[in-house]
Structures are given as structure tokens and as C-alpha cells.
Symmetry: C2
Subunit: 190 residues, 2 copies
DNA sequence: ACCTGAACACCGTTCAAGT
DNA sequence: ACCTGAACACCGTTCAAGT
């Protein structure tokens, strides 16, 4: 026995993290395993399926111990942000089975079906745009590597950590949706 | 003068609508214009830019007369759903300039910056998953073309129009977010 | 069961050259 | 300004054949 399905998925996730979604080709995954591209098709019917398995792996265990929707969404976001282009992979795979995914079912127990869908779409979308921006910033830093020594007059307010900004922005959107959910189904106080 | 930039964008949108995003290659757009693939690079630096221009075209004019966020989002969704894979194209292009897009600015006037971002991410995500499902359903209908004559016993409740379901689902999510926005910044009654 | 080798039908992009 | 022709470095997938 040379390679198993989970070897393939693990290799694909390594390639994804190293090269991004665009560079995550079947041929590169095969190379990562020191195997011909055609060998992958023994384990997986096509690339789309492989991407779905990678998405499952990325979100594995998310929200298993979460007791409220907010905690759940933050965990999900962290899991997606932990691997390069993870949000894209998860969101695309999830779109194919919205209404049938495990995470959606789990979140629905905390927030109801409509709440779960709304929170998930928001969380996916925000994570995707976060990763797009982080990526663009990294590229910009590469193209202009020197630190901006000139306009360093304004000391502390001038350098807003973009990651922290995005975290805060995510939290505020979450607050809005959760407030809306509370308005629709006010906390039971039996 | 043979072809202008807008000819290229228009041709690309025709190819998109006919073949979907996956089939919308530079080579096919060129063929649509009866031109060599390399000719496109006289009008556009790369495919990504062409996709951004297509996205601009798809959302052109959306929400210009909208007086409330709900109307705005419904209009935006309709515009994206009007062309095959339109939501994907718009969402991907928008992710690259979240915080700097025209639609976001316009919606921010109605719902504030956080509200606009939350509503947009939700609207993009829901439209994307809607189109994914419509597409999958169309494919399923192709693979099983005969009408289900056997289990036609239950007359009216059994056949829930999936498009109507998705419309309703979108509306409920919108209601949740708008209720949350109202809770955060209650309607001014001067 | 797992893999090789070779092939098929594609991609996006570049570049010199034409008009 | 707009386009051709040819090339480069890739893709995903299939399939017979090997072990």
C-alpha cells in the first residue's frame, strides 16, 4: 500500500497552504507525493471532490464545544484563516451543500436554520475578503519592502493594524446579526 | 478601429452567460470576437481585470434609486442572478476592493459602514449559493429528464418551487440583519 | 490496490511582427 | 491603435498497462 486517501488530502492541504488555491493543481499535489498525476484518480474522482475533502478537514471539529453562536462563528473563522485560501475552499465546497452540511446543522442547533445560514454566509464572506486583503497586503509589502520612514510623524494613531481592524469589523457584523436574531426569537426566560 | 474595450467586456459577458464562469476563457472570448486570443491583451492587462470590468457591468446602476437597504439588496441580488455565475464574478471582484467599491459606498449611506458590509457579504453569499443550487438542479433535471409520474399522489404541498424557497430564505436572512441594524441604530424619529 | 507513461484537449500570457 | 502567428509553460482527465 503506497498512499491512502488521507495521504492525498494531507498533501493537497500542504500544497494549498504553500501555493494558495491557484497553485493547488492536481499535478502539484501529485508531485508532493512523488507520484504521477494520474495516480490521484485512483483515490478521488476529480479535483472538485478533493477540494470538498480538504474543506471537511479544515472545518473538522469546529464548534463542537461551542455553546453560543458567536463562539461558533469565531472558531469557524479561525479555522478557515489558519490555512492559506482556506475560506475560499470551505465557502465553495459549502455552497454545494448549503442546507446539508454538518457545520450548518450544528450551528442551526444554536441559532435556528435561518440564523445559521445567515451567520455562515456572513462568516464565509468576511473570512474570504479578509484573506484576499491579507494576501494583497503581503504582495504590496513585497513590492515596496522599505518601511515608510518619511511620514512617521504621527506616532500611534497612524498605524492601524489591518488584521485587528478586520477582526473588529467581523465582530461588529456578528453583533448586528446576533442582535437581529435576538429580536426575532428573544431569549427564552422560562 | 476594430474592437473597443466595451466590445471585449460585452463579448465576455455573453460567453459567461452562455458557458458559465468555468467556460469563460480568454480564448473563448476572443473567438466570440473572431480574433486571436493575444488580441485581448491590447484591451486588458489580464483576465482578472476583465472579470472586474464584467462585475462592474453586472452591478451597474444597482440601488441608484433605492431608499432603503432592503430594496437595495434585492436589486443587487436580482442583478447578479440575471447572468449565469454573476454572483461569483461580482463577489470575487468585490472582495478585492471591499471598503472601496461603489456599491458599498452607496449602501453605506443607507445602512452605515458596518451594516453595508454585513448586508453585502450576506447578499453575495446567498446569491452565490442560490446560483450553485439552480445550476445543480438544472444538471439533475438533465440527467433525469422524465417527469416523476409515479409519486404524483400528493398534489400541491409536495412540489415546493426551489426558486421561491431561496427567495424566501434570502428575505428572512435580510430581516434578521435589518432587525439587528435597527437594534443598534434605532430609526430616528425627529 | 496502487501506480506509470503517454496522450488529449485544453489553459493564460508574451512577444515579435504586421497594417 | 489593433491585430496575427507562433510559442511557452502550464492545466484536468482518461486509459491501457504494469506490479
Amino acid at each position: 500500500m503506497r498512499n491512502s486517501l488521507s495521504d492525498v488530502v494531507a498533501a493537497a492541504l500542504r500544497v494549498l497552504d504553500a501555493q494558495g488555491l491557484e497553485g493547488c493543481s492536481m499535478r502539484r499535489v501529485a508531485a508532493q507525493l512523488d507520484v504521477q498525476p494520474s495516480a490521484l484518480y485512483h483515490h478521488v474522482p476529480d479535483k472538485q471532490t478533493l477540494l470538498a475533502l480538504m474543506a471537511d478537514d479544515i472545518v473538522r471539529g469546529v464548534g463542537e464545544s461551542a455553546r453560543e453562536p458567536r463562539e461558533f462563528c469565531v472558531e469557524l473563522r479561525d479555522a478557515m484563516l489558519a490555512v492559506r485560501d482556506g475560506a475560499d475552499v470551505v465557502a465553495t465546497a459549502a455552497a454545494f451543500r448549503l442546507g446539508a452540511s454538518q457545520i450548518e446543522d450544528r450551528l442551526a442547533e444554536l441559532a435556528g436554520p435561518d440564523g445559521a445560514r445567515t451567520l455562515l454566509l456572513y462568516t464565509f464572506g468576511h473570512a474570504q475578503s479578509t484573506q484576499t486583503h491579507v494576501q494583497a497586503a503581503a504582495l504590496g509589502a513585497l513590492l515596496a519592502p522599505a518601511r515608510p520612514a518619511i511620514s512617521a510623524a504621527a506616532p500611534s494613531t497612524a498605524a492601524p493594524d489591518p488584521a485587528a481592524d478586520l477582526d473588529a469589523s467581523f465582530g461588529r457584523g456578528l453583533d448586528i446579526i446576533l442582535a437581529g436574531l435576538a429580536a426575532f426569537a428573544p431569549t427564552r426566560r422560562d
